[in-house]
């Protein structure tokens, strides 16, 4: 398991990284893929193969003090180029 942070970028167009997870820190649960980059596929281009990570977050990390139950968790699939190491931060 590695601690990772989801990039905070907000580009226009089709990306598969949910807005509510941008900038949040989680741990990688497993690595999948490689899968073609959906940001290429969505516009009719062949997709660059990328690792896909299942990243686990706590509800406290995502929603802060508004979390319904802070220790509940959420997992999502995030493509490698949207993740950066969180340990240096």
């Amino acid at each position: 398991m590695h601690r990772v942070k989801v990039r905070t970028d907000m580009p226009p167009g089709h990306v598969r990284t949910p807005s509510y997870l941008r900038g949040k820190v989680g741990v990688t649960e497993r690595v999948l893929g490689p899968f073609p980059n959906p940001e290429n596929l969505a516009y009719g281009h062949s997709g660059t193969p990328l690792p896909l990570y299942r990243v686990r977050f706590t509800m406290a990390e995502i929603w802060g003090a508004d979390a319904e139950t802070p220790n509940d968790t959420l997992e999502a699939e995030i493509y490698a180029h949207w993740l950066e190491p969180a340990d240096a931060a």
Binding site: R16, T17, P18, Y20, L32, G33, F35, P38, L52, R54, R56, I62, W63, D66, E68, T69, N71, D72, T73, L74, E75, A76, E77, I78, Y79
Partner: protein, 211 residues
Amino acid sequence: MPHDHADHLSPSGHPYRPDDDHPLSYWQTLEIAVRELLVEKEITTAADIAEQIDAMDARNPTMGAQVVARYWTEPEFATALLADGAKATREMGFDIGPMKLIALPNRPDLHNIVVCTLCSCYPRNLLGLPPDWYKSRAYRSRTVREPRKVLAEFGVTLPESTEVRVHDSTADMRYIVIPNRPARTEGLDQAALAALVTRDSMIGTGIARTP
């Protein structure tokens, strides 16, 4: 002749909504035009379209229920399903196409629930088409923020000691929840166990029935 489903019952056992005698809508006009152009251009055929509809109609939650019942009763299958959900499911004889599947076993201290906030990703090739609520704005918006309130609306109330884990189906994988096996089902065979496994229990908005 276009494929006619008028005699069939839907997977829920109801007749299909009659759509032949309602005023033609703009979007229905578009569907007919697109379909006929694709056939004229020999990109597909009327028979292929009919066959695809039949294949989708044949998929329904009883397929997933058989997977769950086998998980409960055969430890070797359970291991194989966790290692590669799609492979283990295909080996049961289910035609799930290219779908990649991850099985999410519940435990007494862990309850899994699946949502797709970005669209409506669903293990359709195993469970059939998703229910309307799964595609609704309310379910997609709220499940990631207040899953316990959403679960309560479905009649599922969990103690604080049970962790709720939401799976946002954001990319290439599809998910099936393995509900906890109900108590006092030791003597039941796989068919009887499968009958306890509801669609919602495999999405995570329900639990398995008790016999």
